[in-house]
Structure formats: C-alpha cells, structure tokens
C-alpha cells in the first residue's frame, strides 16, 4: 500500500477530495491529456492534479534552481509553486498549456523569494495541519538525507550509462524526443520510419533503460507516491 494513503486525509469517495465544494469543470474541450487533467482537477479529482505533480515536479524544481541554489529552499519553493498552481487552476485560460503556466509560477515564486530576503521559516503561516503532515513525513523516513542525495546521483549516472548502451536507432529516437523536443511525427519524418515504429523504438529504449536502473530504485520503492 502506498504511503500517500497514510498522509492524505481519507476521502469520502474514490474520485474527489471532498474538502471544498467541487469546482465547476467548464472550459473548452481539452486537446491534450494535460488539459483533460486540469479540467478534472478543477472538478475536484485529486489524482488528476497529483499526476500533473508527478509529471512536472522535477522540471518545476529545475526552473526554480536556476535562481535559487539551496536544495532545501528549492524544494520548499517547488511545493509553494504547486500550491499556487492548485489554487489558480480555475483561472487558467489555456488548460492545454499547463506547463508553460506552471513554469511562470515557478519563476514568480523564485523571484518573490529573492526579493523578500526573508527567513522562510518565519514567514510561513503556522498551519497546524501542514505542520502535522510534515512531521508525519519525517517520522515515515521519507525526509531527504545525504544518503538520498548520493543515491539520486548514482541513479543519474546509471541512467546516462544506460542511454549510451542503447542500440543506435533507439538512442537516436529517444534523444530526438527528449533533447530536441520533437514529436513522434517529426521524428518519424527525420528517420524515414512509420510513426508507430518510432513509438516502439522510444518505448523499447525507455524499457531497456528502466531495466538497467531497476536495482538502484528497488531499495526505496516503499517511499514513492
């Protein structure tokens, strides 16, 4: 069972968090999966927003890390950014452009922090629920440590080695997708292959990388979302 369940207040039903009145979904029909998740999150579907967190958390942290270097502050500001995003979702006009919007929030949060020059511990509201939750995380052992940082570094290095070991076509397809940001159709045109073949190359390449790093991920499996 996931630790998340122990940290999240019991929901009244499987689909909504039930804390506040459900927000009206409204808006135009989504053209992307992100847009659909935003609509569902606005309607109160907790998991929809959590999925956006999982997808964008590292990119958000990296955006903040451009201007703030203390890892603890970066993490705290990343959390702040997602809280702001959650509250601001109903005002998001282009739901299919969640990431560009979140990136702007991250930049604003980081800029505000730099401008304030205040001690983060002093300016945080004393919310007893939040304090209790953070304490529960620390008791659970999910709090970051030096060992965690070393493990993360080892994982990162292993990933790079696994990419280098991929068959050429898999590596090319993956790098065109990730480094150049090309979509499947553009990669297919560049490589002279059908789109489905490109999808398969990318999938098989990622699967090979995942297989290579699996031993490094196993020890902390119980601490994932």
């Amino acid at each position: 069972m996931h630790e998340r369940l122990a940290l999240t207040p019991p929901p009244p039903g499987p689909e909504t968090d039930g804390a506040a009145a459900p927000r009206a979904p409204g808006g135009p029909a989504p053209e992307t999966a992100d847009g659909a998740l935003v609509g569902r999150a606005i309607a109160g579907e907790t998991l929809a927003f959590e999925l956006l967190v999982v997808k964008y958390q590292r990119r958000a942290a990296a955006e903040i890390r451009r201007v703030v270097h203390d890892p603890a502050i970066v993490e705290e500001l990343t959390q702040d950014a997602f809280l702001r995003a959650y509250d601001g979702l109903p005002d998001l006009q282009e739901r299919d452009r969640f990431w560009p919007w979140l990136r702007t929030i991250c930049r604003n949060v980081a800029s505000s922090y730099l401008r304030s020059g205040q001690n983060r511990q002093d300016d945080r509201p004393a919310d007893p629920d939040a304090v209790a939750t953070i304490e529960a995380i620390e008791r659970s052992g999910a709090h970051g440590s030096v060992e965690d940082e070393v493990a993360a570094r080892q994982l990162f290095d292993a990933l790079r080695r696994a990419v280098a070991a991929l068959p050429e076509r898999q590596r090319d397809a993956i790098l065109m997708r990730e480094i150049e940001g090309l979509d499947y159709r553009s990669i297919a045109a560049t490589m002279g292959l059908p789109v489905n073949t490109v999808k398969s190359l990318i999938f098989r390449g990622r699967d090979a990388i995942a297989h290579a790093i699996r031993p490094l991920m196993a020890p902390t499996r119980a601490r994932r979302w």
Binding site: L7, P14, K55, Q57, R58, R206, D207, R214
Partner: protein
C-alpha cells in the same frame, strides 16, 4: 495499463479521451496501480535525466503531495 500508454502520456501524445483510463489504472486500490505508478515514476525519471534534470530524493514527491493534502483540507484552505 501498458507502458506505451504511460510513455505516450509523458510525451504529450496521449489523447485526452484516454485520460480516464489512465487515472483508473493509477487510482489507489486499483489492480496493478502500485506497479503502474512505479513504472510511470521510472519513465518520468528517465525523461528528466536525459535533459539533465537530476532526480530529487524519493521523498520529494511525497512531500509535495503531503503539503497539497494539508492545503486542501478546509482549515488549510482558510
């Protein structure tokens, strides 16, 4: 939930009409949800690492979600 679906979601190539299927597969208590979440986490880690974004420790996600959970409570939102 097969890995190609998870991969397509992370590549912004999953049609919006398949989001319900994705959420159902990842929902707490759904058969195979824990494994699907692990696979999604791994695939996302790979994507981020390839563009040079280092992985925070494993508790990073839990801590964000915990603050969100506290924030969503009526007292947290007050």
């Amino acid at each position: 939930m097969n890995d190609e679906t998870l991969s397509a979601f992370l590549d912004d190539a999953l049609p919006p009409e398949r989001v319900a299927e994705l959420l159902a597969a990842l929902a707490p208590g759904a058969p195979g949800a824990a494994e699907a979440r692990d696979r999604l986490t791994t695939l996302q880690l790979i994507k981020d690492a390839l563009v040079g974004i280092e992985a925070p420790d494993d508790g990073f996600t839990l801590r964000i979600l915990a603050r969100l959970a506290a924030h969503r409570t009526p007292r947290g939102r007050a």
